[in-house]
């Protein structure tokens, strides 16, 4: 809230706020809560606009709320909060021809002319659309781990301001183009566009607004250099996010990446047909360019102490979860048994085409397992079967991904667990049949083996995709928990002063958006540690005026825009991006489906 220190001479203390329409009612409710007395309204004709000042008295001081109103646009009446304001509002309506909507007593511009007045009774709640009482985050924004201001950028897209929408996303998460392709989009689960049970496709809108920016380059101003140096260990999403925000805050940031390319799990873990690697690369380059981040690729950090000695004021550790879990069964080391990370890395990063044979078995039920299945299909396997020890309902992979895999011909076998692998050509995979028992700590029903019931299948290769563990180099010298993950406080501080940690290396494998959130929050904590004020908490943009659209029923009935995709037959044979994204018209239509549930009336 802008508290304008205007020179106002007065015999009692005067404070004046310049307010936008959006924040006006919040402020009014505050005044009402503080028992402020309504004095009057002063209107000033500024030519194009009319300046309206609402005067209130609080503790013998005069509090003013100043807003600028367009002459031809009605101003929402405050009589729903202060019914006594009707005389002053009618007076302004008469004298300045400025209409007030929702007045409890509307003289219709005739308060000062007495003939032919039709008036209502007094001191009753206003009829018609009530002005808003509260602004919310919006369900979509609440669901988002990063609290990306989804309502705002959807509105910006609907008004044709794609570049503005891109900036809005970056306020909370720095890689919109990647998120627009790979995010599991919890926002859409929160969307209240529920009439057709078809949420607004927020993820694709994000992709649309990013793709409208050439090379993802923006013109932004970095804060003045602070002279502090920060090292970021790990160039995954969390590290990139932290480096970007720290750089924007004016710190000198150096990112150490073990491999030759930044991106971490986004690089190796997400197939090319979902996230083309050139997009990931150019977006990270654009962000690093904006924040003036130095990137040291191919530099593995084994110890943190030397970095601190080198003159870094703080270190952010975001080394991710890179080591695959073992199946811990007989024959695991046989030839033809793959680690899904190795496969995905070979295919996604180095563009190799390993020979998997015709029949491929996948063990696991997460997104990596599905990705491995879809990759295997693209590598020419004719029969890809995914074995999961629980049922479809318990599967952690996203429904969207499962649907894509099914379309491409990946088949699923549930309630089976690998028992042993007999080496040879072909490999023999012995599976234990299971049934579901009582729910376990994660709330999912625990699979129990059925005694003596096994199945044996013959396959050419087996893919292990049962999750990844964190392995922290011994030289780091920071506290770890029993699972080998780094112990960090809520402020992402480790037990060593000046060393912060976040992302998968602290919380275990999570999604991209959560990693980006960790990076941003850690950047804020590090900035505070270095004497700054931190990054602003996600907040509602009060400067934005959002009325409810008038054709609400129509909007709620609008069907969603089906995104164009490459047909399953074509796409299963190559690594081209499956979704084609929205055209301008489609994005406009999809974004106009938002009925602004963050605006409570």
């Amino acid at each position: 809230m802008a508290d304008t220190k205007m020179e106002i001479a007065s015999n009692s203390p005067v404070s004046e706020f310049t307010s936008s329409l959006g924040e006006m009612f919040i402020k009014l409710n505050e005044f009402k809560g503080a028992d402020a007395r309504f004095i009057t309204i002063t209107a000033l004709d500024l030519g194009e606009e009319i300046e309206v000042i609402y005067h209130f008295e609080k503790d013998f001081g005069v509090v003013g709320l100043k807003i600028k109103a367009k002459k031809d646009k009605p101003l929402p009446s405050i009589t729903s909060i202060y019914p006594v304001a009707f005389i002053a509002e009618n007076e302004v309506q008469d004298l300045f021809n400025l209409k007030f909507s929702g007045l409890n007593v509307d003289f219709g511009g005739k308060m000062l002319h007495i003939e032919g007045i039709e008036q209502d009774t007094l001191l009753k709640p206003a009829e018609g659309p009530e002005p808003p009482i509260m602004r919310f985050f919006g369900k979509c924004r609440e669901e988002c781990p990063s609290n990306v201001n989804a309502p705002k950028y959807i509105r910006q897209i609907s008004m044709g301001d794609a570049a503005g929408a891109y900036d809005t996303v970056i306020e909370q998460a720095p890689l919109p183009a990647c998120l627009g392709r790979v995010c599991f989009a919890p926002c859409q689960e929160g969307c209240r566009q529920e009439m057709n049970e078809e949420p607004i496709q927020i993820r694709l809108l994000k992709r649309y607004c990013s793709d409208s920016i050439p090379n993802y380059k923006r013109k932004v101003k970095r804060a003045k250099s602070t002279g502090k140096k920060v090292a970021v260990v790990g160039g995954g999403p969390s590290g990139v996010s932290a480096a970007f925000y720290l750089g924007m805050l004016g710190h000198e940031v150096t990112v150490y990446e073990k491999t030759d390319r930044c991106g971490g799990a986004m690089l190796w873990g997400i197939p090319k047909y979902r996230l083309p690697k050139n997009i990931l690369g150019s977006e990270i380059t654009a962000r690093f360019g904006e924040a003036k981040v130095t990137l040291k690729e191919g530099t593995e950090v084994k110890e943190l102490k030397p970095l601190l000695d080198e003159g870094f004021d703080a270190i952010y550790v975001a080394i991710g979860a890179m080591e695959s879990f073992k199946l811990q069964i007989e024959g695991e080391e046989s030839e033809g048994v793959w680690d899904c990370k190795d496969l995905l890395e070979k295919v996604n990063v180095y563009d190799e085409i390993p020979n998997l044979g015709d029949r491929v078995a996948i063990v696991g039920g997460g997104n990596s397992a599905i990705d491995s299945g879809r990759v295997a299909k693209r590598l020419g396997a004719s029969e890809v079967v995914l074995y999961y020890r629980r049922t479809e309902r318990e599967m952690p992979a996203s429904a969207h991904e499962i649907r894509g895999a099914v379309e491409e011909g990946v088949s699923f076998e549930y309630l089976v667990s690998p028992l042993k692998i007999i080496p040879g050509k072909p490999l023999q995979l012995v599976l234990q049949n299971m049934e579901l028992g009582e729910p376990d700590a994660s709330g999912r029903r625990r699979p129990m083996p059925i005694e003596g019931s096994t199945t044996t299948v013959e396959v050419d290769s087996i893919m292990k995709a049962i999750g990844h563990a964190v392995v922290v180099p011994e030289g780091f010298g920071i506290g770890l928990d029993r699972r080998g993950r780094i112990v960090a406080s809520e402020d992402y501080e480790t037990d060593v002063e000046g060393i912060f940690a976040g992302g998968d290396s602290v919380f275990g494998p999570k999604s991209v958006i959560e990693a980006l959130r960790d990076g941003r929050k850690a950047a804020s904590a590090i900035n505070k540690f270095l004497g700054g004020e931190g990054l602003p908490e996600p907040s509602i943009d009060m400067g934005e005026y959002v009325g409810r659209p008038e054709n609400l029923d129509e909007i709620k009935r609008m069907e969603h825009v089906q995104v164009r995709e490459i047909s399953p037959e074509v796409r299963a044979a190559n690594f081209d991006e499956v979704e084609l994204g929205f055209s301008d018209a489609e994005a406009l239509r999809e974004s106009s489906r938002c009925w602004r549930c963050d605006w409570n009336e």
Binding site: M6, E7, I8, A9, S10, N11, S12, V14, K32, D35, R37, F38, I39, T40, T42, L44, I53, H55, F60, V62, G64, Y82, P83, V84, I87, A88, E91, D94, L95, M111, L112, H113, I114, I117, Q119, T121, L122, L123
Partner: protein, 370 residues
């Protein structure tokens, strides 16, 4: 099926024997009981805010003094103060005291006038005549001071235009002592007379909890036990006079009457005190520049808070003058007070807020010179 109730709507005003002000209240009544009230104002618009923008800022003093006849001194003081805030004029201390004395004199005659009208509304005509006769003494003082019975017109930007000499001060002291004895004589009637009690006690309740929300000001809100008086901000010389507002907790018309009655004594005391403390010195310190900037000024009129918003742009004409007089904020409380009472209570309740419509309505909309 519920029966459809038939209500009668009857107009009260703008011309009515017990209502001296051009205000129309349309009463929706269910037999004798008032169900709803619709106020209609707009009978006496004179375009004063606009006139203030068109005239030289010094001439505006005479325009603003004519916003209200009874409160003319206070309007003049408030306007001059607003201009003084945005120019380099500095009011000398003696002028400040003189402004207080004349303001309190205005309050005195206004309250006596109101007590008379109130007595008339109750139907107590002899009381009305007695009080108005006593009020003549104060109008006589006005005449001795400036030569006019109502419009003193002594304020000017930077001070006052006339001084009071020893002789005049003695006249004041003598006459005000006389007023005090006269008021003393009448007081028991207001405090104890059965006719007055019957007509006022429990009529026109304005609960303390609602008073601020409905925006009441002046004696109307002080009758509900809330200490709200702009004189507490200590403008002019009030800061040096140990001012403490009069409040009553009765919340009804009777409490509001008591507030005004006690304020008569308070004004007499304040004038006495001001005479004792008034320093010698110059009367006027003129400004050398044009008003430039915004000033917000609030003072206490007999009816409550008056609000001035003045914006100057460095020329001799003002950008904007906004005046909010105390009757406007008292209309919503009046409406809520009336609902539930009987028709015969209307005059007392309407009078209990001391309506002054002519100062409420100042502005008219002149469209294309029509």
């Amino acid at each position: 099926m519920s029966e459809v109730k038939e209500y009668t709507v009857f107009p009260f005003g703008p011309q009515h024997p017990v209502l001296p002000e051009p205000l129309q209240l349309r009463f929706v009544v269910d037999e004798e009981e008032i169900v709803d009230v619709i106020p209609q104002i707009g009978y006496v618009h004179r375009g004063i805010e606009r006139a203030c923008e068109l005239n030289d800022y010094r001439r505006n003093i005479y325009i603003t003094e004519r916003i209200c006849g009874i409160c003319n001194v206070i309007h003049g003081t408030t306007y001059c103060e607003s201009i003084e805030m945005i120019t380099d004029a500095e009011v000398p201390p003696r002028a400040k005291y003189l402004r207080v004395i004349w303001s309190e004199l205005a309050r005195l005659q206004s309250h006596l006038l109101w007590l008379g009208l109130f007595a008339d509304a109750i139907g107590f005509e002899s009381l009305f005549m007695q009080i108005w006769r006593d009020r003549e003494i104060i109008l006589g003082l006005h005449e001795k001071t400036s030569g006019h019975r109502i419009h003193l017109s002594l304020n000017t930007i930077g001070g006052v235009r006339k001084d009071m000499d020893e002789h005049l001060i003695n006249e004041y002291k003598k006459d005000l002592a006389l007023v005090r004895t006269k008021v003393d004589a009448i007081a028991p009637v207001f405090y104890t007379d059965k006719a007055v009690q019957d007509k006022t006690v429990g009529k026109g309740i304005l609960p303390k909890s609602k008073a601020v929300f409905l925006g009441a000001v002046g004696p109307t809100i002080r009758g509900s036990g809330i200490k709200q008086d702009m004189r507490m901000t200590g403008y002019e010389a009030y800061g040096e006079l140990d001012f403490e507002p009069v409040t009553y907790d009765g919340e009804d018309a009777n409490a509001r009457m008591h507030v005004r009655f006690d304020e008569v004594y308070q004004s007499l005391d304040l004038i006495d005190k001001a005479f004792k403390q008034m320093p010698e010195g110059p009367l006027l310190h003129k400004n050398t520049d044009f008003p430039n900037g915004i000033s917000i000024n609030r003072t206490e009129q007999p009816r409550g808070e008056v609000f001035y918003y003045v914006e100057g742009n460095g020329t001799n004409k003002l950008q904007r003058v906004r005046v909010r007089t105390p009757t406007i904020p008292n209309i919503p409380p009046l409406v809520s007070m009336l609902i539930g009472h009987e028709i015969s209570d209307i005059p007392t309740i309407v009078h209990s807020i001391d309506p002054c419509m002519s100062c409420t309505e100042r502005i008219t909309y002149i469209k294309g010179g029509e």
